[in-house]
Amino acid sequence: MDFNFDEFLAWVGEDIDTLMMLIWILPVIIFVFYGQRIQLLISSNEIKKDIGKLEEYTISTKKEFLNYVKNNLTSKTDPSKKLDSFFDYFTIMPVDMDPNGIITKINHLIRSREDFIRLQINGMFSDLSSVELSKLQNLLEIVTTLQLFYKHTRHLYLTAKKQKNFPLILPLQMMIPFIMEEAVALKDAMPAIKNGQPIGDGIGPMIVGQMMLGTTKESAAFETVWSKTTFEDRELFLLKAEGPNATVGRPGDGLEKIISIKKPDLVIMIDASLKLEGEDSASIAKGFGAAIGGIGTERFKIEEIATKNKIPILALVVKQSIHEAITLMTEEIADSAKTVKDELYQMIRENTTSGQSVLVIGVGNTIGVSQ
């Protein structure tokens, strides 16, 4: 049958409604049957780009880490192979069906992992200082976390694609901006850690470190120091991680030690805190409770000791973004130290009386900050 274009146009002219109906119904049919697939295609393209970036970050940080080791440390054998095996190390969290006593288990697990890595790295290099060792642990942690992000994101993406499962890609689509924010921060943290420069999270130890100047420092726990000073007829106990190591120390154990010497009437914790969207960087906030991040074991210990001894805990935090917290300290954050110190002294005056004692804990990674 020959198609006559003139006849077709004549028919259209007579029945334009039929044609319009066809034009409208076609996309509806396509979207009914293929809508989810189209959405999956659009979303997965965006996610694919981010996964590509995650892969790039993992490879570049790994290379940077291995180059740093080769150029700055002396080893009898090539450390690349052994270090490469560390990147894939995983931690199996304890069973939480019966949560009773889980904190002790997590604490044991985390410390065992840290001790193992420390021992392994120490054995690989000759004349490794404690600062260098802590820097290597931090760098290793960055690479391992980035690798974990990359592998898990890729797994979810590929599973959703393989099973053509659109609902599976939705949580990934929601989470990917947060994952990317953290990944960029981790990647940018490498230079500061390598050079031993203070990071935003170090504001707490920086303030307490300054207060410790000229006092006799003693070990309170592993990689944690304490000292004593006075302020307006009050006894001040100061506690922070031992700088300039790239460590957060063990403030929980430190508090236990100080309590065994003398029970303070008040505990004040100074830490960096993640700012909410819209909040200003380096703004200061005061509050109640233990200001300490991490997996939760240190906070649990501090809360438990304080509860048992009926000691109130106050918090003083410097707000910052995740990027600011783990990369080179900004001038704004460094300059907030003076205001925080003034607020701290005001807090001590308002909450204690003369003759009482206060424990001030500077929480955070003290890289590049001594005392």
Binding site: D188, P191, A192, N195, G196, Q197, P198, M206, G209, Q210, L213, G243, P244, T327, L328, M329, T330, E331, I333, A334, D335, A337, G368, V369, S370, Q371
Partner: protein, 59 residues
């Protein structure tokens, strides 16, 4: 100095003289640690203490 997404961050070290309280700022050098005293003051020959190390980011 490092580049990240077209942003350049330069690290600076700020020091204060223990005697004459002069404040000086220079680029970070390896081995700089906050609260360490390594240099002498050019004005009074007192000891300069590092008071802060920070980064300045420019687009």
């Amino acid at each position: 100095m490092r580049k990240s997404d077209n942003k350049i961050t330069t690290c600076y070290t700020s020091m204060e003289c223990n005697s004459c309280k002069t404040i000086k700022k220079r680029k970070f050098t390896d081995g700089d640690i906050v609260f360490s005293t390594s240099e002498n003051c050019s004005d009074c020959d007192g000891k300069m203490m590092i008071t802060k190390i920070f980064g300045v980011t420019m687009d």
